[in-house]
């Protein structure tokens, strides 16, 4: 267990260093933030003074070193737009995004698990065709368009849900469905093919020869086996999920990290962009780690080594 954790950490740290380096280098190429921070009629001395106080007159590698040091202390710099600590701003918005993301995963699981299993057990029937066809269309539809169409149908015409904002469950449903459907499409496909493979295994024949009900064969003997890849699949969707969150938040004016980030990109508020990218990378890495650990718990054949 201890060795396993050590190995994981040895993999994560270089990844985080590379990401921070790329982001820092990009921002460095983008040029001085000073011009944006001072009024247009500022004197050259003022600019030079500010540059010096921010350490911007030092060579690139020194600046990056300082930046890394600050990162380790949780200091991502200050947003010039809000005049606040960028990391604090990101953390303030994170709960809303997590809420949306978790709700979307729940929606995706509710749709894809039964549908994937069902279509696998009823292979080549009309149900299967409908499920696989739906999965392809779900994959082809842009997320934000689906969101707009849902607003059109359920908010504008039927008046069932509020168009935008956050607060109640009613606010959450449309964005969660929008985001969840896209992930469900990919998950349904993968669960189906996994289930098909598991159902052809010998131990399924054994279970059936015991006289078990086919429902029990599927959920006790087959699903648990196909659950292992499903968990990995779900975790690997984290990246897609976060990408989708950024856009879905914009469509529904959801006050999360995505909205903050996109505004920051528009206004070139680089401290927030940097803080958001690194936070998201950490989340993705953590999710992959959790998936890996769950995988080991669920599959008795794998031990820490």
């Amino acid at each position: 267990m201890f060795n396993y954790l050590l190995k994981i950490i040895a993999q994560i740290i270089p990844v985080l260093i590379i990401i921070s380096f790329i982001v820092f280098a990009l921002v460095f190429i983008a040029g001085d933030p000073v011009a944006l921070m001072l009024p247009e009629d500022a004197s050259t001395e003022d600019i030079a003074l500010l540059r010096e106080s921010l350490g911007l007159d030092q060579p690139f590698i020194v600046q990056y070193g300082n930046y890394l040091l600050q990162l380790v202390q949780g200091d991502f710099g200050e947003s010039f737009r809000y005049g606040e600590d960028a990391f604090k701003l990101v953390m303030e918005r994170l709960p809303a995004s997590l809420e949306l993301g978790i709700a979307a995963i729940i929606v995706a699981i509710i749709i894809s698990v039964p549908l994937g299993i069902w279509s696998a057990t009823k292979r080549n029937t009309s149900i299967d065709l409908l499920a696989t066809g739906g999965a392809v269309i779900g994959k082809a539809m842009p997320n934000f368009w689906l969101g707009i169409m849902l607003i059109l149908i359920f908010s504008v015409h039927l008046g069932l849900f509020p168009v935008t904002g956050r607060g109640t469950i009613a606010h959450l449903i449309l964005p969660a469905v929008t985001l969840g459907t896209g992930i469900a499409a990919e998950m349904t496909r993968l669960i189906r093919s996994n289930m098909i493979e598991v159902l052809s295994q010998d131990y399924i024949k054994t279970a059936r020869s015991k006289g078990l009900h086919s429902f029990k064969v599927v959920y006790k003997h087959a699903f648990r086996n196909s659950l292992i890849p499903v968990i990995t699949i779900t975790a690997l969707q984290t990246s897609t999920l976060i990408g989708g969150t950024l856009i879905t938040e914009t469509v529904f004016s959801w006050p999360g990290l995505g909205q903050l980030l996109i505004q920051a990109v528009h206004t070139r508020d680089m401290a927030i962009v940097q803080a958001a990218v690194i936070t998201i990378a950490v989340i993705v890495i953590l999710m992959n780690l959790i998936a890996d650990i769950l995988y080991r718990i669920l599959d008795p054949r794998i031990k820490y080594n």
């Binding site: 131990y203 020869s209 015991k210 006289g211 009900h213 006790k220 003997h221 599959d299 008795p300």
Partner: protein, 333 residues
């Protein structure tokens, strides 16, 4: 004596995209109480499909198109899925070829073993567990309590097959279908498992349908032998007659090409040629292309099942002809 199981004119066909495969074609045989019947044939001869037909586990695109499977007087082909489930694992149990893959890798041995006891004997978990431990001891597994909590991957192939046997016998079945139970095992383990099976059925008077391609196993275990080729029964008699006086050219070939038991090799390579394409069987005898004694009518007319001696059945034109005719063709080939 009363028949425990009687299969009459069973046809199980597979309706595939490329055509209809008559995997089991007009198969009839019977099993008496306490008797071990061996179903012998190469892979693809239809022996496994016959066993799955008995269990009612034929999946689409396969289908039982005709015939009856009488178990204790009841026709299993007419039963509903629900009624079949009551028989499966209870009155009729099955052991499969691959002990390595036939146990669920993510469930504990104890869980899998007590499953059918809970289901069929309507027992609570604790009681089922006690019986399971007892069963494991019966099949010669040491440290039974510990094994109950283990996952299959920690057990050797022989141990797993013992667990499979314990599982199959857990509800005291009247018929045990053993589909190549020792094929995947080492020769020494093979002998142990066969001894174990023999001991257990003698104690309980269970009938066995033993599916195998290994005549060594047949000689060791069986009372009667049914030889299948390309979906059909080609010979059917008691085990002594079969080895002493085989009638069908295919059976002869099988016996000649089989090494004795306890030898490593069990390949059946010395019969020339391969099994005909099941999508396009010859119109006459299905063995015609590989048969060294083939007559003219063999390629045009399908042979019938003949009773050459008492309780000795053969599907072959050679035995429908007069003795001198047979000799003549034997010379020419």
């Amino acid at each position: 004596m009363k028949y425990l199981m009687e299969i009459n004119y069973l046809k199980t066909y597979f309706f595939t995209e490329s055509g209809v495969v008559p995997a089991v074609d007009k198969v009839s045989f019977f099993i008496k109480e306490g008797e071990t019947v061996a179903l012998v044939g190469e892979s693809g001869s239809g022996k496994s499909v016959t066993s799955l037909s008995i269990m009612g586990l034929i999946d689409s695109p396969g289908k039982i198109v005709e015939g009856e499977i009488l178990f204790d007087g009841k026709d299993l082909t007419l039963l509903s899925e629900k009624e079949l489930r009551k028989i499966r694992g209870n009155d009729v149990a099955m052991i499969f070829q691959e002990p390595l893959t036939s146990l669920n890798p993510v469930l504990k041995i104890g869980d899998q073993l007590s499953e059918s006891i809970i289901l069929h004997q309507k027992m609570d978990k604790r009681k089922a567990r006690e019986i399971s431990i007892h069963l494991l001891r019966q099949v010669g597994i040491p440290r039974a309590e510990q094994i109950m909590e283990s996952y299959p991957h920690l057990l050797s192939g022989g141990m797993r097959q013992r667990v499979m046997i314990a599982m199959a016998l857990s509800c005291g079945p009247r018929l045990l279908i053993a589909d190549e139970p020792t094929t995947a095992l080492d020769a020494t383990i093979q002998a142990q498992i066969l001894q174990l099976l023999k001991k257990l059925i003698e104690e309980t008077n269970t009938s066995i349908l033993l599916i195998t391609h290994d005549l060594g196993v047949v000689a060791e275990m069986a009372d009667r032998v049914v030889v299948m080729y390309a979906g059909q029964i080609v010979e059917h008699t008691d085990v002594f007659t079969l080895f002493r006086d085989p009638k069908h050219p295919y059976t002869k070939g099988l016996i000649e090409s089989t090494p004795k038991i306890h030898e490593e090799k069990d390949e059946l390579t010395s019969i020339a040629g391969t099994v005909a394409n099941p999508l396009n069987y010859p119109t006459g005898c299905r063995f015609v292309d590989r048969c060294p004694f083939a007559l003219k009518e063999c390629s045009t007319n399908p042979p019938h099942m003949l009773e050459v001696n008492k309780d000795h059945y053969v599907r072959c034109w050679l035995h429908e002809e007069k003795e001198d005719d047979v000799r003549e063709t034997t010379k020419t080939t």
